[in-house]
Amino acid sequence: MASLDSVFEYVGEFMAQNGIDRSEAYSLEFIVEEMFTNLIKYSRSGRNEIALGLRREEDTMVVQLTDFDVDEFDMTKVSDAKTDEPLGDRRIGGLGVHLVRKMVDGFRYEYSDRVGKIIITKNLGQDDVQRGGRKH
């Protein structure tokens, strides 16, 4: 996971270049890390590379992760984690996608010719509490 440092560095550069307030850093870093690590975990790729793209479209951040030479795996269809269960029944793991879903405004998957893309949108200037765990 040494590559996570370079991912976070890229996120920081993107924010600085696009005038995105540092208050958005946590959410953006979290989203990118969770998606990145899930793709690595579930990827059947022989290419071992994931392309990360970040862009700002007015007041929206767009995060795109592209995985090459993979079987189709739609992470957006992963069920929500069961967060109301008592401690003894709580499962370790499975929180990443659930938490990202709570933090973003758009979350979709595209697949074609063995290339999978996760595309996430997040409106700027609205904190996660206001977002209120919108479902997608």
Partner: protein, 94 residues
């Protein structure tokens, strides 16, 4: 980077960033806990689901002997995420 400072009175301070690359280091600290302890988040700026999993695993293990972790001084982002994860139902968070 992630590190932890272990105090004398069952207090552990988490420091830095606990992302997926730091889970092994976090486990080395939390696996040593055998009694009820306070985890101080004052110096922890970031945690992802991987780090949260280590905390949850520790809490589940301690519950077996009637012990528990109490989490204190979470920043706003971490507090929000722990709420979404239902951690406020399985940890005492102050």
């Amino acid at each position: 980077m992630f590190s932890a400072a272990v105090g004398n009175t069952n207090e552990i301070q988490l420091i830095g960033r606990l992302d997926a690359s730091q889970v092994v280091a976090a486990r080395e600290v939390l696996d040593r806990i055998t009694a009820s302890s306070t985890i101080d988040f004052r110096e922890l700026e970031y945690i992802s689901s991987a780090g949260m999993g280590v905390l949850l695993a520790t809490q589940k293990r301690l519950a077996g002997s009637g012990q528990k972790l109490t989490l204190v001084h979470l920043n706003k982002h971490i507090r929000d995420i722990f709420g979404y994860a239902g951690f406020d139902k399985v940890f005492e968070i102050r």
